[in-house]
Subunit: 217 residues, 2 copies
DNA sequence: AAAGCTAGATCTGTATACAGATTACCATAT
DNA sequence: ATATGGTAATCTGTATACAGATCTAGCTTT
C-alpha cells in the first residue's frame, strides 16, 4: 500500500536501524509528523508499528528509540539459534536448483564490497532463499524481525564490517551442504554461523562497553 | 494505562480468542467503534494491536478475524517446542521455594474444575512461574503470544476440555523435576507436554476437518 | 544552596470531518 | 438466466481540533 503511514514507517525504520536515530532519542508523534509533513495520525501509526517490531519503546509519555544491551543481544541470538536451524532443517529438502543459483549470485554480490546496507540486505536474502522453502510463514516473519534487530547491533556497535571474509567462508559451506541436500548439516552450519556472529558482536560490545546516552536535544 | 483503545483491545482479544468472533468475520473500524461507543481512532488502534498479535488479518479493505489451519497450528507448536524448553532450561536454576509454592496452589486451582478461561489462565501462570525466572523478557513475550494463539485453537476446536487429567499428571511431573532442580529434565518434560497438546489438538481437528466459514451476515 | 511550587510548553488520546477507494446491490441488456 | 454497468452504501486514510496529562523552567521559600 502507498500510505503516508507506510512511508514514515519505512523511513523511520531505516533511520533507527542504521543508528541515525540513536537509542534513547525521543520520537514524539508531533515532531515526527512535522518532520515528514503529515498529520499526527500516520506518525502515530508508524510509531506503533515500530514498537511492535521492537525498534521503539512506547513509553508512558513519548516514544523513544529502543536501547541496546548485551542481555538483549544474548536473547535475540538465543532465539535465532533456536529458530533458524529448525527452519533450515524443514526447508533444505525443498531447496532446488533455482535457489542454489540465486544464492551463488548473491555471494558474488556480497563479495563485491557493497555498502553496509546492501551487504546486509544480500545476506538476508541469501538465507531467506533457504528459509522460504520451509513453508512456514510465521517462523519466517519472526526470523525477519529477529534478524532486523540483530542487524541494528551491527550498525550501532561495529563501524567497519570486519569479518566478511569469515562470513563468506561460512556461506560457501552452507551453500555446498544445501547443494548436497543434507538438512542436518545445513542446520548445524547455520547454527554455528549465527553463534559466530553473536561472539563477534559480543567481543565488540565488551570492548566498547558504554551504552550510548540519549542524544542531547 | 486506562485508555479506550486498551479497553477495546482487551475485549476484542477475548472475543476472538473464545470464538465469539469467528474466523473470517469482518471487523471494520466503524462497526467496532460504534459497538464500543468510541471514535474510530481507538478502534483502529485496537485492530492494529490485534493484527500485530496475529489474531486479526489487516486485509486490503477491512480487518478480518484470522482463520485457523492445521498448517498454522503445526508452525505454532514447532515454535513453542523450540522456545519453551530453552526458556525452561535457563530458568530452572533460578526457581526457588516461592515459585514451587505458587505452582502447587495453581495446580489445585486447575483441579477444581474452573471455567475454560480460568483453567487456561491458571495453566499459563503455572508455566510462566518457571519462565519468569529465565530473565528473558523478549522470549517470554514471544511465548505469551504463541500460547495465546494456540489457546485459540482449543476454544475453537475442542468443546469440552477432554484431557485435563493427562495435563495434570504432566504438570506434577514438571513440578517435581523443578523442585529437584534438574533443568534438562524439566525442559524435556515441557517439550513433551507441548507436543502432547499438539497431538491432542491435531486429532480433534482432523476429526472435524471443515474450517468454519465466515459467519453469514 | 537545596527543595518545593507554579505557569507555560509539550505531548498524547480521542472526537469529528472529508475525500478517495472499495464493495454491494440492483436494474438493464443480452 | 447470465452478464454488465452504474449508483448508493461502506470503509479507510488522513487532517484538524480540543481536553487532559506530563514535563520543564524558573521563581519562591527555607
Amino acid at each position: 500500500m502507498d500510505t503516508a503511514a507506510a512511508r514514515v514507517t519505512g523511513s523511520l525504520r531505516q533511520r533507527v536501524l542504521t543508528g541515525e536515530l540513536k537509542p534513547g532519542e525521543p520520537l514524539s508523534q508531533s515532531r515526527v509528523a512535522a518532520e515528514y509533513g503529515v498529520s499526527r495520525i500516520p506518525a502515530r501509526d508508524a510509531l506503533q508499528t515500530l514498537a511492535a517490531e521492537g525498534l521503539v519503546d512506547l513509553g508512558a509519555f513519548t516514544a523513544v528509540v529502543r536501547g541496546t544491551s548485551i542481555a538483549e543481544l544474548q536473547e535475540l541470538y538465543e532465539l535465532r539459534e533456536a529458530v533458524e536451524p529448525l527452519l533450515t532443517r524443514l526447508a533444505v529438502p525443498n531447496v532446488g536448483r533455482a535457489e542454489i543459483a540465486m544464492m551463488t549470485s548473491l555471494l558474488d554480490e556480497m563479495a563485491s564490497h557493497p555498502s553496509a546496507i546492501d551487504w546486509l540486505s544480500a545476506n538476508a536474502r541469501f538465507h531467506a532463499l533457504i528459509y522460504m522453502r520451509a513453508d512456514r510463514v510465521r517462523m519466517i516473519e519472526l526470523t525477519t524481525q529477529l534478524r532486523r534487530l540483530t542487524d541494528r547491533y551491527l550498525y550501532l556497535h561495529v563501524d567497519m564490517f570486519g569479518d566478511t571474509g569469515r562470513l563468506d567462508v561460512e556461506h560457501r559451506l552452507i551453500l555446498e551442504a544445501a547443494k548436497a541436500g543434507d538438512p542436518a548439516e545445513v542446520a548445524e552450519l547455520t547454527r554455528r554461523h549465527i553463534a559466530a556472529s553473536h561472539d563477534f558482536l559480543l567481543r565488540h560490545m565488551l570492548r566498547e562497553p558504554a551504552p550510548q546516552e540519549p542524544a542531547p536535544r
